[in-house]
Symmetry: C2
Subunit: 514 residues, 2 copies
């Protein structure tokens, strides 16, 4: 069960990154500095069953008043409070993740902007899908007065990821969207950054009403949380193995609950002949090695003309790796790329540089012909979390659609093409739309904007539910359920459904949006 707390995309939580059990005492989670491998900060105690039950009871108790509260100002206050402690949060996170101050400063800003976007979503109000139908006794079947609106599903559990200690952790997208929806949130902290989690949780707890936010630590607490009767839905970002195990737990409850897991993704990228330029090669190497490749949108699988491999290899050879988030992640990456290099299926064509010490790794690039790839699709689409890429070489783009259609589900799929290849790009888009949630043109998949139009999701194994996104305005829909009021007196309706539209929100009346 240790893999249940595992970090995104193939890297678990074993060993020194956390969950260390003290003989005779309560279990605790210890942070480590990836640059040295040494402990950093004080350990955080794992959450006992009774404390978890208390946290869940408070979440249930606060649910109705939170759902009815004016929540936009709260989200903005959380954002302001996080920004106000940016220096402390970033330095704490850097000590535990080695992701660097510039990246973490940007990530925290992204996290607080995300909270502010959801405040905007709440004020705009169309997320409620308010719908008013007048009666029509003459239709078949007769229509009574019906008014439909969305409301919070109830308390939600959020499993934090290791690779974004802010944006996909305690105050990240799942938490922000669930709080926006009116759901109290209980976060299962990631063991990779316990001190960062503790500091973020302190800020949320200070700003939000009692019970609306809670946090638990430890693998056992996570399992108990997913099966807890108080919890009505789960958000998760992490490995396919860990996410699948928790999805199975959620689905096998006496009362199954929605489980939104963002799991593994190989993010196929196609470089069409017209785009096989030096700029594309350096862009690829930069995207592959960004954040030491520890992104769920890392472009691990590149389809390129055979003649382009040399340029790609040169770019990756000139690129730098870094220290990974934890020892297990480093070990999994290293044994994965060593295994590929030792095997006969693919050829190692480039190795970048690595810093000294800690949990450092070097970028790697492998190459394989399209036919060999197609014949070994399952093993060669296995994700190697970190700065490793596989170039699949083709001779004619017409060979691509059949192979692309068989790829596992991804969060993103990318095409690089100049005008001469636009028609081919259009054909590829039709195929790629079936296997990925976001299609990118002449850019790289790393970097996920927080916007109304973002889709961060995709078919299995990219996620456990392709209908939804974990980033962007519509992430809120995961935590909302519809309810229809039939024939209720005006004064007993929720404000969103009253005739005079006191919230001044967009609504649909007898089928027409306004």
């Amino acid at each position: 069960m240790s893999e249940l707390a595992s970090s995104p995309s193939g890297a678990g939580s074993f060993g020194r990154e956390g969950g260390e059990r003290q003989r005779g005492g309560p279990a605790s989670e210890q942070g480590f500095d990836p640059r040295t491998g040494q402990p950093v900060g004080t350990p955080v105690e794992s959450t006992s069953d009774s404390l978890l039950d208390q946290i869940c009871a408070l979440a249930t108790k606060s649910a109705a008043s939170w759902a009815a509260a004016d929540r936009a100002p709260y989200l903005e206050r959380v954002a302001d409070a996080l920004d106000a402690e940016s220096e402390l949060l970033v330095s704490t996170a850097d000590a535990e993740t080695a992701l660097g101050v510039p990246r973490l400063t940007g990530e925290l800003k992204r996290t607080t902007n995300q909270l502010r976007l959801f405040a905007e979503v709440l004020r705009e109000g169309s997320y409620l899908e308010a719908t008013l139908d007048s009666a029509d006794p003459d239709t078949v079947p007769p229509r009574p007065v019906l008014r439909r609106v969305l409301r919070s599903i109830g308390p939600v559990a959020v499993f934090a990821a290791s690779n974004f200690p802010f944006a996909f952790s305690v105050a990240g997208g799942d938490t922000a969207s669930a709080l926006a929806a009116g759901s109290p949130v209980v976060v299962k902290a990631h063991p990779g950054h316990p001190a960062t989690s503790r500091e973020t949780a302190r800020i949320l707890t200070n700003v939000l009403p009692e019970g609306v936010f809670g946090i638990v630590h430890g693998v056992e607490a996570g399992v108990r949380l997913v099966r807890h009767p108080a919890i009505k839905a789960v958000g998760f970002t992490g490995s396919t193995t860990g996410g699948r195990a928790l999805f199975d737990l959620a689905s096998s409850r006496p009362d199954p609950i929605p489980f939104y897991g963002e799991l593994g993704s190989v993010n196929p990228t196609v470089v069409l002949p017209s785009a096989a330029t030096e700029q594309t090669a350096t862009g690829f190497a930069a995207s592959l090695t960004m954040g030491v490749g520890q992104f769920c949108t890392n472009p691990g699988l590149l389809f390129a003309p055979a003649g382009f491999v040399e340029s790609l290899a040169a770019a990756v050879t000139g690129s730098s790796g870094g220290v990974m988030l934890n020892e297990r992640m480093q070990h999994t990456y290293q044994s994965g790329v060593d295994g590929l290099a030792a095997g006969e299926l693919v050829e190692l064509v480039a190795t970048g540089t690595a810093p000294e010490g800690g949990w450092a790794v070097a970028p790697k690039l492998f190459a394989v012909e399209l036919k060999t790839f197609a014949a070994n699709l399952e093993v060669l689409t296995e994700e190697h979390f970190g700065p490793a890429g596989l170039v699949v070489t083709y001779t004619d783009p017409a060979e691509l659609p059949e192979v692309l259609a068989q790829l596992p589900g991804s969060l993103t799929a990318t095409v690089h093409a100049e005008a001469a290849d636009h028609a081919v790009a259009g054909q590829l888009a039709e195929v790629l739309a079936g296997i990925a949630g976001r299609l990118i043109f002449n850019a790289w998949p790393t970097g996920v904007a927080v916007a109304w139009g973002m889709q961060h999701g995709g078919p299995w194994p990219a996620t456990t539910n392709p209908l939804h996104t974990s980033v962007g305005a519509t992430a809120i829909r995961r935590w909302l359920v519809p309810i229809s009021y039939q024939g209720w007196p005006e004064e007993l309706l929720p404000p969103a459904l009253r005739a005079d539209n006191p919230l001044a929100i967009p609504r649909r009346t007898n089928g027409t949006l306004s």
Copy 2:
């Protein structure tokens, strides 16, 4: 596994209603006349594995062109073709279900109106959630040009119900909404009305492009369908046992798929003191016995003042039962009410009349005090599919919220109240909103309008997914997945996302709906 093909809300498919295996020949499904218990029509052969695989392959093959087709006219043509054969369809269904010509004529009209509503939904176009964001390089993280739209999830399996041979069967709400979404549909026919299914399927097959519609028969075919790689989502209306088994199959696939099951529902109704009138009593008896109680929205659980039991009992005593859909349903109902009558928890306070012969049953009303009910909640909220009700008597409405909050999830919850009790009704609505998808005021839950504002869903066990509805315009959302296009050239975008809005649909641009 026989329960996998079971009919709605507690009644399975054993015995004579279908699935009879001929020694030495292929399995087949035989219709029976519930009025006599005698076979009617010719048997329909169960679908072989190879035929099912062919049907699924055709569905996959037709998926892209169906998703791109102008589908509204097809839905209208299906509706017209069904209406044109109304006489044949209704008489065939009446022979297999005994639901009566007037009810079945209305149900078919409801079914074709439902297809026409989805044509309207397609033309209106906001179901696509088309969203256009322009670039903002100065925000954190930078925003590229993003355009988001919904598209078909792919081929869908639909499990038909027994109690609505049109509206929740071959051409019912799941099929209509999935076809509207652009998903090819493979229906698993219900064994209770094989000839009706065959005739309906013939009409759909004639109108729709090849591969867009298919039908299979038999329990084994249903199981194979849910696990078939071609199938991307499942709709189901039926018993909690059968639905749970199929949900577990869908969730345990190597690639889990969404499963939308509408299962059991006790539909609690509260009569507040001001509404305890003769009119309410006769309204209750009429709703309880409508369609021999074979509705998923049957008001099986009534909370009423102790002094009102006599009126309710008189109304039910004066009511008539009828023949149930099949022998097993009759047997389950009869043994259920006999068990309640023989036990010591509840008191039998009324028995209506039953016709002679066939699979006839009589309405039954039981009564129990609120305290006893609360102490035996699990056993007393078991659904008895058919015209049986349980009155839970209270002395003070203030006792109700605590008990109502513990009820299992239902499709509907109803309050009857005059002005003097409006304040109490409002308090009850807050509790009932947590346990049901549709709240009804001063009316009865039987009868489900097909409208933009309808919600036909609810928390487990009412459904396997409380985020969605199986009736009404938004039922289409179950079969759609979002996709974002980042930075794509105008001419390669789907029409819904092009700058000049060639479809003239409502869209959101930089956060603003228009």
